[in-house]
């Protein structure tokens, strides 16, 4: 039993574990155990483990599953979907998990499908992850060949189909209801919630969508138990987390660490601190749609409860480091341009508001900011918020903007008054 269950067995040469190699590291033993358990028992163990959704929202996974109608009267077929559409800026953890240990994800999905009585599973993968696609395809075929997928898995009454669906490039497909529309071959606009996918999902049937990293944890939880999993963590959230860091640090990368590791431990302990000649200005803790944190927050624990206490979110747990030689208005412009481009266009505040924000930021960055621009940005920050947009994309876009308006008031004013970007 390791304290780094997700990555301990990975090969250092960057090749994926074959099925034989995976089996030699207790691979598919958890599935054998789970096949003997009633579905509700699997759900209880996962709920008690305090595994929280690794896609960024952090909802308790076992609890998410508990909303699926069960038993003979439940609508069929039920679906299980791995969200591997990883496109949150600065995020690259699921790519590593799928490339290096696709069977871990598949086994996690099969056990989870057992827990909700699902018969059909999809891995929804972004197109740009070409290597992950080839390896996932091969691993699914290997799993079928070894009777881990298909009819009567390992001689049990449980059968599961699994398909790899490769997308074609659009950020909103990572929103779980937009993902369902994409799978149905429709334009991938989100759906109104309620109803939630667990009640009415793919083609109106009960569906669970979880992030790829979330599923990768499941075999270990079943094999070693909820208490062991909680014991890996430093906080109440269970398990380990794949943390990442990019930007002007000496060693950008990914590391599996106990949930609740501090930002300082990641920045200084793993990423080697800032590159020579650069100082830390601020960090974006969990992908583009999270509020900024600064050097005063370095001892904050990266977990789902600690980061909100300082006004941000852990999100995907892959941090973007912004140095003191980079213009913060430029960063904001870059972030908002991303969100504006990726808006699905369905609801007016997002479709119209994000390009408006982007144009203002571009003008300010180019020394053409005007009086009233800050107020216009702040107005969007208030208006494009939860409850006023059809999904969470625009509110996510406003998180960095709101925190940027607070933190960089001086920089904004300097750009507008001096009619130039001091960094260029």
């Amino acid at each position: 039993m390791s304290d780094r269950p997700l990555t301990q067995s990975m090969r250092p040469d960057g090749e994926a574990l074959t099925i034989k190699e995976y089996e030699r590291t207790d691979g598919y033993q958890a599935l054998r155990k789970a096949l003997k358990m009633p579905p509700k028992e699997i759900q209880e163990i996962v709920k008690n483990s305090n595994l929280r959704g690794r896609g960024g929202a952090g909802f308790n996974t076992g609890m998410k599953w508990s909303f699926v109608p069960m038993g003979n009267d439940a609508p069929r077929p039920k679906y299980l979907i791995a969200n591997a559409d990883e496109m949150e800026p600065g995020t690259f953890k699921d790519k590593m998990l799928i490339e290096l240990n696709p069977h871990q994800l598949i086994e996690g999905m099969i056990i989870s499908a057992l827990a909700i009585e699902a018969e059909i599973a999809y891995v929804f993968l972004r197109w740009e992850y070409r290597l992950a696609a080839a390896r996932a395809q091969r691993a699914i075929a290997e799993a079928y060949e070894n009777n881990y997928l298909g009819k009567n898995i390992l001689g049990s009454v449980f059968s599961l189909e699994m398909h790899l669906h490769i997308s074609a490039g659009r950020y909103i497909c990572g929103e779980e209801t937009a993902l369902l529309n994409a799978l149905e071959g429709r334009r991938a606009i989100p759906r109104a919630k309620p109803p939630y996918p667990q009640i009415s999902g793919l083609w109106g049937k009960p569906t669970v969508v979880n992030n790829a990293e979330t599923f990768s944890n499941i075999p270990h939880i079943i094999l070693h138990g909820a208490e062991w999993y909680k014991g890996l963590s430093r906080t109440t959230d269970g398990g380990t987390k794949i943390y990442g860091m990019s930007g002007r640090v000496k060693k950008p990368g990914l590391w599996e660490l106990p949930m609740g590791t501090t930002i300082r431990e990641i920045l200084e302990g793993r990423a080697g601190g800032m590159q020579g000649g650069y100082e830390l200005r601020y960090l974006i803790p969990g992908g583009a749609s999270t509020e900024f944190l600064t050097a005063e927050h370095l001892d904050v624990k990266m977990d789902f409860d600690s980061v909100p206490k300082v006004g941000s979110r852990m999100g995907t747990g892959t941090l973007i480091v912004i140095d003191d030689k980079t213009c913060p208005i430029g960063v904001l412009h870059n972030l908002e341009k991303f969100f504006a481009r990726e808006s699905c266009g369905w609801c007016t505040p997002c479709r119209e508001g994000l390009p408006w924000v982007t144009n203002i930021l571009e003008a300010i960055e180019n020394g053409q900011g005007q009086a009233g621009d800050i107020e216009a940005l702040a107005m969007h920050g208030e208006s494009l918020w939860l409850g006023r947009t059809f999904c969470a994309l625009a509110p996510g876009a406003m998180e960095p903007l709101r925190s940027g308006l607070k933190l960089f008031k001086g920089d904004f004013e300097q750009h507008i008054i001096e009619k130039r970007c001091p960094w260029r």
């Binding site: 990883e86 496109m87 949150e88 800026p89 600065g90 995020t91 690259f92 699921d94 790519k95 972004r126 197109w127 740009e128 992850y129 070409r130 290597l131 398909h163 669906h165 490769i166 997308s167 074609a168 490039g169 659009r170 950020y171 994409a182 799978l183 149905e184 071959g185 429709r186 334009r187 991938a188 083609w203 990442g244 860091m245 990019s246 930007g247 002007r248 950008p252 990368g253 990914l254 974006i284 583009a288 892959t318 973007i320 912004i322 140095d323 980079t326 430029g330 960063v331 870059n334 972030l335 991303f338 481009r341 990726e342 699905c344």
Partner: protein
Amino acid sequence: MWTVNGVNLNMLSEKETHEIAEELKQYKTRQAASVEALKIIQRSRGWVDDEGIKDLSAMLGMTPDELDGVATFYNLIFRKPVGAHVILICDTVSCWVMGYEKILAHLKNRLGIGLGETSPDGLFTLLPIPCLGACDKAPAMMIDEELYGNLTPEKIDELIKRYGWKG
């Protein structure tokens, strides 16, 4: 000329029709296969033209507008012709911090084109792409199906030569 479900398909090739029919077997509904079918058309023609939309929509039981609504939604389904190779350059935050503007300028200078354009010899189309998930190797880009990170002007010169750049 071949028919599928009584529909005459003048413009889809036999190969395209066959591949799409195989794909349809994998999906629960014909519409669900639309993204994959669009990619099949694109693999054989380089892009998805209006005739492709018309003929494919008939095969999938969708209206041409419905299918075009799906095709135009995705960054990587091309509804305009592209060059022999498509360069997707990541312009999102980590790549931007780590030098995107410099390598974009170098690429534009070398190829003589801007974003969204194709080089006069038809070799490269240059497109922006959101975060490729290569943030620890920023700045990064893809050429067709290959990912290239830790880009420098020298590396870019070497890469475009590898893909046939003579200029």
